[in-house]
Subunit: 326 residues, 4 copies
């Protein structure tokens, strides 16, 4: 048994993560921390999970060598906390965006701060198990991918290096915006509507570009859905378009060992993956146009955040990748 | 032409009301006031109405004798503002709850304040045109009914005095909670769910009881709908239950002159009245049980607030009751 | 290990039930039957469950002595199928309404057919584990309660015999109407609206009345929610109203041994029970009015149908009541 | 006054169109036709419009010289009906797709039939008033644009000839799929989900390509919204990217005389145009990438169908373009 601390457990992602750890056959829930909600139980802020653990202020001194931690802090704050915990001997999954970009020079522009721990940034492993399984297993710091990058990369990675002119039009459920009430998440603003936001300036843009090794156009949209994220991806094949069957086979091969990626024949909807750690991907080929059209769909809080964090923790702890996630 | 000032025009009700006045063939939009949003146009806070008027702080000195005003302030603040405007010669529709209860002693318990202007409270007319058409026409202060009372009273008033043991289970769209973002109106809290709130302590309870002349059980529910309000009303007939046909005829007679009340044969849904000033009511009789089951449905921002305010302003100004409301 | 056949497994309830049995540690999935969808896998009609079993026409000869079966047929057809399976030695949970009413004379009026097997009707046990745990354990035929009766009875049973004048205003998610596309379940008819239906003639009315031992007024409503059911229940205490604390204690005592009923302090929403077998109930007392106001909320496909069926199967098979249901 | 027959008035588009004509100051509602729903009033199939006209089978002999007609038939049937009415001297807006493609050879592939009236196809005018105002005014047959092409073309036309590599990711409300209940429009299939459909084979693809004069990638998506359609359009500038200000100015100039197109600064949501004939378009420039990202949003039943039909009828009848549409 290993202890997992969930740091920032009052938000949508943190509470989901605490619930997964709480029900996990191997992990034990350690500290579950919060500031404004300290003193409340997780079940009080997220009744659907029935987790009775009490939220407390973070106690760094109670982090033990060999503990695991998952950090669900806001950006910039997470980088500091991750460092403090690693310094105390913990192995950490950073669920924030603070360790995802290998090039530290990108943080000021995209996240508004200078990275405080370039040493950890340098050693952090990008936590997409489908491509980094082994590196994750040995990492001290795992950068849990963003929700948009997860869906987009899973939809496109099998064609990495063979496509260009990538356009990603993504649709996210509202829980991706977090628990804080703002005008943008008011029911009367979200219901019955769809709109794009943060076009050309969303923090996930360079993360997807890094993953694909090329620039991308990325336009996130908010849709009237609680949980779920669909990335519709458009790209041009370099050279002649391959046959659709070959592309599908390449996807099947690429994900042959991935327990949570399902390659499907029709453009997938959100319902088949909601509240699960599964991703469904569907590549389509426009032979005349030499185009790839690929869809990736996940639950934004599971495979897009908390579920993937547990998948990474499983790998770090030498456990089966899907333990506690079925 | 008459001027109508809309005081508190940045909220859902105020913006809808300003839009109705702006498009009205007889009324001219006067001041449209706001505090936090002063300097912005109404179209900036409520794009769907395309009203270019700029929100300003209220200028009491610019209220002229004979002007009309509609006050959409929060409770307690409205009572003060209504008084100030009446003192300057305006005739006012109070869209807040501050002049609805004739018994001033009820305000401390239900609204948390002592009424500052018992003189105006005494002369205020309850602005449900279907029962008070003439009194409204001559009033200086009209208390615009609450959204729940409007739907409930329209569903039950034709049987007033003949029924007892009234239970009202009401379902409101989220816009009824106002524009302020709170945890309760977060999309992820409202979507996919229904729940009761403020059971036995909602401010509209004594207002409905006053209208029916008897105590009522009132349980409001929040439903995942933007606009619309359904009151499902249950009561026991005193004495033998009348025949269903007689009850239906009584409703038809009661609303024969009401341009906005439609008596329908099947329990009405919200869609037929959304974004209109119509109410649909449907009485049903359980002969065996001696029961009346009556449904009333409105758009909470129109017949439940802004539309009814314009209906009242029409009557006060001697205009056709439905002018600017079709 | 025991075999459970799911008869009628292509509908919303049947597919959910097959998924629960498929993942159950003790039960093995036997036949999963369908007519129009025969030849398809369950995952093809209900992708979210990832159950690969293939739907087939029912083969009665393959039912073995000691097998279990759950029948999710339409009303009237279920009564026949249950009889055929019991005759072959199976023990059956009838998920339809065909064995719920003890008085066979009620079937022609409420369900439109004369019951074909009065012998089985006489021995059938009403499958609400919270009140019939022992009888269920030994039953050959268990009548799985309806979704509305489950939520309503759980909300009211602790006060059975002490209350009268019961009014139940219930709100159901659309999945309760089944998978067949009809105008009433068209997205554009359901979204943004709430309406009552089948008032005074819903088949669940006599079932609730039977459970409470007194007539009830029951008005079901359709709400824009996929899964979830809230029963808001209003009643009058016979004699003086008890103290709210005593009522709450009575509920706590009544459900002390019920693993799936949670007595809560605030009117519950649907989210805390969605996709679970939990019910949440909340009694409130209006002392002045001598009234009980009680809320019961469930997931209509789980505690309201498939989950409760598994709960009953657990009891019939001598397994822990909550096995496979957490 | 002129008569407008609405042929196929029981569907979502036809009923909306009949309601617009019914309330129009210049047009008189002629025949409103339906087959399955003949004998019912429009208010019975679409209560929200309060149109009492009775649906009848089409009576061709009652079409008079100089009448107007709008045909809302399914594809292939519309082409026949349009011909019959034109032959009787009517001027027709074809709301179906049957006269939109100038190249008759495209119909077998994209619509599955050989066009029966190449003569009318040759003379039909594409009814997008923003580019064809004068030709529409004199036309006998106007091909009312599809909902997706309307939003897409309005978003892109100001840059026609200057862009290439066009990708359109469109999101449509469910009413666009029509009133017929199918599994795809079941509430439980649509709610809480988004999915693409008919990728690379939607009938609107060649219509958009024709309008832009170049091939396009078009991927329609169904979103959990009743009414509204957002086209998110991505393209590459030929040559150097122009400055964002210049692009915005070009849009403003292009739509200077268009009463229903609003050029906005932020990606528009559906709410500002729902139930109106307005379109909002928003061009954005990615200078580094040499890309145009442009959004167009409409109400699919108004500017995307019935409203645009009335706009065309206004032009054909020499009336103000926006009459009856504010």
């Amino acid at each position: 048994m290993s202890t997992v601390h969930v740091v920032g457990a009052a938000g949508f992602t943190g509470a989901q993560l605490a619930a997964l750890v709480d029900a996990h056959p191997y992990f034990t829930l350690g500290q579950v921390t919060a500031r404004a909600d300290a003193g409340r139980r997780i079940v009080d802020v997220a009744p659907e999970y029935r987790v009775g653990a009490v939220l407390r202020e973070l106690d760094l001194d109670a982090i033990a060598e060999g503990d695991f931690a998952a950090v669900c802090y806001p950006h910039a704050e997470a980088a500091v906390a991750v460092g403090e915990m690693v310094d105390r001997g913990a192995r950490v999954v950073d669920v924030s965006a603070d360790h995802r970009l290998r090039d530290g020079a990108l943080y000021p522009r995209w996240s508004g701060f200078t990275h405080p721990r370039p040493d950890l940034l340098a050693e952090a492993v990008y936590g997409l198990p489908e491509i980094n399984r082994e590196a994750i297993a040995g990492a001290r710091v795992v950068a849990n991918p963003g929700c948009y990058p997860t869906a987009s990369l899973l939809a496109l990675l099998p064609m990495r290096g063979r496509i260009t002119d990538i356009v990603i039009d993504a649709k996210s459920g509202v829980s991706g915006a977090g628990r804080t009430p703002t005008p943008d998440v008011h029911y009367s603003a979200v219901a019955d509507s769809v709109r794009a936001y943060n076009v050309m300036r969303h923090r996930h843009t360079p993360e997807i570009a890094q993953g694909m090794g090329t620039d991308v156009v990325f336009a996130p949209h908010l849709v009237p859905v609680d949980r779920g994220l669909l990335a519709s991806c458009y790209a041009r094949f370099e050279g002649d378009a391959p046959h659709a069957d070959d592309v599908r086979q390449a996807y099947a091969d690429f994900y042959a060992d991935a327990p949570f990626v399902e390659v499907v024949d029709e453009p997938p909807g959100m319902r088949a993956v909601q509240r699960t750690n599964y991703a469904q991907v569907c590549p389509m080929v426009d032979s005349d146009g030499g185009r790839l059209i690929a869809f990736g769909v996940i639950d934004n809080l599971m495979k897009g955040a908390a579920g993937q964090a547990v998948q990474n923790l499983n790998l770090m702890a030498g456990r089966p990748e899907d333990e506690g996630l079925r």
